[in-house]
Amino acid sequence: MHVHRFERIWLVAALGMIVLFVGTVTYGAVVAGYGMVDAEGGQVDATDPTDGENFREPGVYNGSEPGHYDVYVETRRFAFVPGTAEPIRVPAGSTVTFHVVSVDVLHGFEVAGTNINTMAIPGQKAVVTAEFDEAREYGIVCNEYCGEGHHTMAGSLEVVPPGEFNATAEVSA
């Protein structure tokens, strides 16, 4: 088969670029340690996630180490619990693991402007971990269509100075 010289150069360059893309993603996953949402969260009951071992009552909990927190969030049409009626509050300088489930249909859990962005699928628990260095407020949006009120489904995440957090701690052990 005859392949023109320019075409061959292009082919090699294209393959090189592809290998480079795969390489950067691999680097991000393996070296930089950017963890994907995956199957580690395990399964939960599709309509009553707190029923099993895998999921606690929604809320903010002390994690396994100091400075680590676990946030259990239930998504439902059309609210985050916690998040919508009351903000999720964590202290600045902490590492936070979000455990996100849905009790009805698919929802999204996106902390706007960050890369915390996961699906909530009935029957599955999503686990995402992030570090919050400075005190500030973030918006949370549902970014998967979940019904006629989808555009009302939002919430907020408040990263507060550590002093303030202790004052109003919602942390249960």
């Binding site: 993603v25 949402v37 970014n143 979940c146």
Partner: protein, 594 residues
Amino acid sequence: MAHAHDERATGTAEGRELAAGERLAFVDQYPAAARVTRLCFGVSFTALLIGAVLGIVQALHRTNVFRGVISSSDYYSVLTGHGVLLALFFTIFFLSGAFTWGTSRSLGRDLPNPRFSLAWFGLQLGGAAAVAAAIFGGFVGQIPFEADVLYTFYAPLQAHPLFYAGLAAWLVGTWLAGADWIRSYLRWRSDNRGERVPLQTFMVLTTMLMWYISTVGVAVEVLVFLLPLSMGLIESVDPLLTRTLFWYFGHPVVYFWLMPAYFAWYTILPKLAGGRLFSDPLARVVFVLFLILSTPVGFHHQYADPGVAEGFKFVAMTNTMFLLLPSFLTAFTVVASMEYGARRRGGSGYFGWMKALPWANPAFAGMALAGLMFAAGGFSGIVNAGMNINSLVHNTLWVPGHFHLTVGTASALTMMALSYWLYPQVTGKRLQLYGVAQVQPYVWFIGMALMSNAMHRAGLAGVPRRTAEPQYDQVSFEAALGSIPEMRLQIAVGGALLTLGAALFAAVMLATWFADRGRGRLRVDSHLPEPISGPEDAPRVLDNFRLWAAIAVVLVAIAYGFPIFSMVADGPFDPAAPPVPVGVVDAALGVFLG
């Protein structure tokens, strides 16, 4: 001889001299195929026009520029109509028409059985009409239809059974259409043993093999799970499993949108540019690569899903990146063919040759501009494919920004451009409103440049897709580039130009449809010049469809076997989510909407 050949190759406005009474039009040679092609195009264009009207409603509503038409909770019926009519029906009906034309033309024979062809067309149309009725019934309170589940219809959201039944009928219609083309091919094969498969037929067959392999997923999803669920025959589904079955089909369908465009870029664009295709063998390689690589990548739509192990996502990511290869090769061929044509038309210089291209020919201009936008769409697609960067843009407005460049322009504008060239041949009528046709591709291009760049930037700021409201009480979006109000305005203005573009296109097609057949010469010439490097240069193994299909199936088994197995190991309906019918306004909604 060479001279006459060349003249025909360059003549797009002028055909060769015709003998008295002789016509070049396809319709005169293959009347049955021309009829089916016309019917398919008619449905396709209707879907495009309705979809475009819904598009402008959305663009104005979600940017808050004008919202008198619908309420925010009706937005999702509109969005479902827009997605289904454009992404499924406009594209696939067009494909059905173009492929009917392409097989008949390249095999040199009319339809094997015109009744059978009408039957598959009827089944596709009936299915599509049922789906549309289920969607638009949602606007009419008295009718029990509801289907605002968007074109991805993720369970356990549940539409009216008519929606799923219509989808199934339409799908079977597409399968039969493929069978029709395969049958034509087999008949040709038995008359032409040992000959190379003509290029256009080769493209049709590889595309259809890909379609058969990938639609199995959605067929199982609809027939085994969603239709029975909506009819109350089963009580629950596993949402992760049905979603996985959807995306097993949902990515390959992207190539079903693109293949008609590639088909046009390889076989027609070079001629319109004034030259001929560079390499027939490489075109075949590209289609084979699509066949084997496009199905085992669906997990790249599920990077953000819990319940899918990172390893499977990684396999899909790697496949996806390699799937860039056939597109890179196509980019080369398209640009090289244009340059070759331009130089033969007297163009010169590094970039100066571009001026020599026939930019006033709407068929050429549409395809060339579509190709240009596809390059931009390709880059934003690489971001989507990059597993970890993806979480910055997942489900944000970036995503519709991306696919309005790819399917909304690369495919859609190429299809419109191809129609300017093809429609006269299947009707035997001269293209009407030529001046309107000449500006139309530019209107679309400018509209899309505005709308999609603003969508991409809004996505980076975190603005979600698929939402009726620009503003969330608890959230403020921070733009890295430009400001949010400016982006909204651009989306609205761009959307208005796009809808104008669709209306101009519809006007040309309608005027041509109603025009007299007349005796005059057609404005196009159907001759397609031979490639510089022809099929005789292609290794024989390329035409071995069985081999490629087998490899495709093996790759699918590798990418999907284990994840699907682990999802059904606990029972195909477990974890069990009961259906949530759409359109039932629950109490919570009342509270939230005030």
